[in-house]
C-alpha cells in the first residue's frame, strides 16, 4: 500500500502543472494507482480520493464509468479480445470461444491460478489487422487459433 501511495504522490507531482484542477488529475492518478496495485479496490480509491481531496463517491463514479479501470483483480496476463464488427467478421468470436475452452473461463472471469483474465472489449483501433487481442499493453494482430496456442504457452 505504501508503494501505491508513493505512485499516486509521484503522479500528482509530475502531472499537476498540466491540469487545471485536482478533479482533472483524477484520470492519470487512477491509472498510476492501477499500475501500482493491479486493480482498484475500495482502499486504493479512498487513497486517491484523499490525495486529490475529492469526495470518494466522485472517484467511484468515474471508475465505474470506465471499463479500463478494474473493479476486481485481473490475472497477470489480461487477454482483451476485440469483438467489434471488423474483428467479428474476421473470426474473433471463434478466437474467444477457443480461449474460453482452453482456459475454462468465460469473458469477465479469471483462471484459478490467477494467470489469465479474458475480457471482450470494444474496438481497439486496429481493424486492418483483425482480429486483435491486446495482452496487457501489447497488441497481437491477425490472430488465429494456433497463434493463441503459442501466446498462451509463452505466458505459462
Amino acid at each position: 500500500m505504501k508503494q501505491v501511495q508513493n505512485a499516486i504522490d509521484a503522479e500528482i507531482d509530475k502531472k499537476k502543472r498540466f491540469y487545471p484542477n485536482k478533479e482533472a488529475l483524477l484520470l492519470p492518478v487512477l491509472h498510476a494507482a492501477q499500475r501500482a496495485y493491479g486493480w482498484l479496490p475500495h482502499d486504493v480509491m479512498e487513497m486517491v480520493a484523499k490525495s486529490l481531496e475529492l469526495p470518494l463517491p466522485k472517484v467511484k463514479q468515474v471508475t465505474s464509468f470506465y471499463t479500463m479501470f478494474y473493479k476486481k483483480p485481473v490475472g497477470e496476463c489480461h487477454l482483451q479480445v476485440c469483438n467489434n464488427i471488423a474483428c467479428y467478421l474476421r473470426g474473433s468470436s471463434d478466437v474467444i470461444h477457443y480461449i474460453e475452452n482452453k482456459l475454462g473461463i468465460l469473458p469477465g472471469e479469471t483462471t484459478k491460478d490467477g494467470l489469465f483474465t479474458l475480457t471482450e472489449v470494444e474496438c481497439l483501433g486496429s481493424c486492418g489487422t483483425a482480429p486483435v487481442i491486446q495482452i496487457n499493453d501489447d497488441y497481437f494482430e491477425s490472430v488465429s487459433r494456433s497463434d493463441v496456442d503459442k501466446i498462451l504457452e509463452a505466458k505459462q
Binding site: 463517491p57 467511484k60 465505474s64
Partner: protein, 472 residues
Amino acid sequence: MGTITFNGKEIPFDEGDNIIEAAKKAGTEIPHYCYHPGLSIVAQCRMCLVEIEGARKLATACSTPCNNGMVVSSESPTVKEAVSGVQEFLLLNHPLDCPICDQAGECSLQEYSLKHAASDCRTDLNRRTYIDIDMGPSIKKNMNRCIHCTRCIRYCNEVGDIYEMVALQRGNNTEIVTVDDKPLMTAYSGGLADVCPVGSLTTKDFRFSKRVWYLRRNDSICDGCSKGCNITVSHEKNLVFRLEPRENQEINKWWMCDEGRYGFHFAQSPSRVLAPAVKGGGSMESAQWSEAGARFNDLVVGAQSIAVVASADITNEEADLLKSSLPKAELYSYSPSVDSSSEDKALDHLIRRKDKSPNLKGLEGRGYSAFSKFNPSKFNLVVYASGGKVRPPYGIAKLSETTVGLGVFLKEEVDGFDVILPGPSWLEKEGSFTNYDEINQHFGQAIRPIGLAKPMSVVLSKYLADSVWQAG
C-alpha cells in the same frame, strides 16, 4: 438587455438569460429535464434543442445564452423531429407505469410525451428493471423510471452539500445510487423529490397517499424556523398532504429543509386537543365552548396580575389582538431554541436557522419580552398562546396559580391547565410572520379550522367581557 427573435416574435431578454429563461418570460415553455434554474447546467437530456439561424447544428436552449439579434426557433420541423426523437429515446427504458406512479399529473415526462412524442412505440425490447430502494429516512427510489437527467446528483452536491449520490456505470446501465448503499443524510433530502422530473425519487411521507390532481394548492409560509420559507400547501378535503417550496429569490430561492417540509403533521396529530376543556377534579374534561369561554372570562376578570406568554409561532395579528384585548397583561414570547432573536443564527450554508419559531422577531417588535425575564410567581393568571409548532415549555401550567391555554395543544401537554381553548394551526388561519431579516410575510388560510378550534379573534371578542379590554 436586448431582444431575440423567438418563433417569429421579438422577445426581450435580461443579461445572462439562456434561451429557456427568455422563452419562459415570454410565456413559452421549451421542454427540458436536466435543466433547473437553481442547478448547474449540463445539457445532457437534449430535450431543449432549438434551431438557431446561422448555426450548423441544433443547440440546447439551456446552455445557449441569448445574444442580441439571435433568431431562434423551437417549432421548426427539424426541431420537432429531433425533440420527438429524444423523447422516444428517453422512453425506451421507461416502464410507463403512470397509473401507479406518484408523479403522474405533475410529471415532465408525461407532459412532454403528450406534447412532443410520437403516439406509437417502435420497439419491443426488454426494459431494464430494478427493485425499489430506500435512500435514507426520507426518499424512496424507483430506478426503472429514471431518465438519467442527474438533477438529483447536482442537487446533492450543490444544494445539499453532500457527495453521496452518484451515477454508476454508463449508458443503458447507468444507475443512480448512494455509494455503498449509504442512507442519504442531508437536511434537504425532500428536495430530491421536487427536482426529480419523473417519478424516480419520491418522498416516503407523500408516496401513495394521494393522486396529485385531487390536491388543491395554497400559497403559505413555513412555520418551521425564523427563515420564513415560501411554500405551497397541498390539501384535499381539509387534510394537508404535503408542503413544497415556492420560489422566492430573497428568502429560500427554490428550496426548503426536511424539518419544515414534514413539520406540518402536528396539526393533524390524533393527540391534538380539538375541543375546549376545563379542569374538573384534577384532570381535564372536555366542555362546551360557552362553559369554557365563561370560565376563561371569570379567570381574567378575577385575576390581579396577568401574563401573556405567546409561543413565537402565533401571527403578528394575534399578537396585536392579545395585547389590545388584555391591556393589563405583561407580555412574554417563547421560543424553544433561543431566548431572543439576537441569539439566532444560520445553522448551515443554505436555509436552516437556530430559532425554531417563525415569528420571534414579530413578537419582539410588538413589545413581547424574552421568556427568561418571565417570573411566574408574580402572576396569578398566565395565558399561554400557542400556534402549535413550538411545543410549550415543560410544566408551564404548573408554575402559576391558574393557566389558560389558547391555541394548539397536544393531549399530553394539557395537564395542569385550567382552561384549554383550542385554536387553529397556521395552516388553518391567515396572518403574517416576520422573519429573522424583518421581512414581513402574509400568508393565507389553506384549510378550515380542524375540530372545534376557533380563531383567536372570535374567542377574545366573544367570551371576554367588554370591561376587560376597556380596562387599559
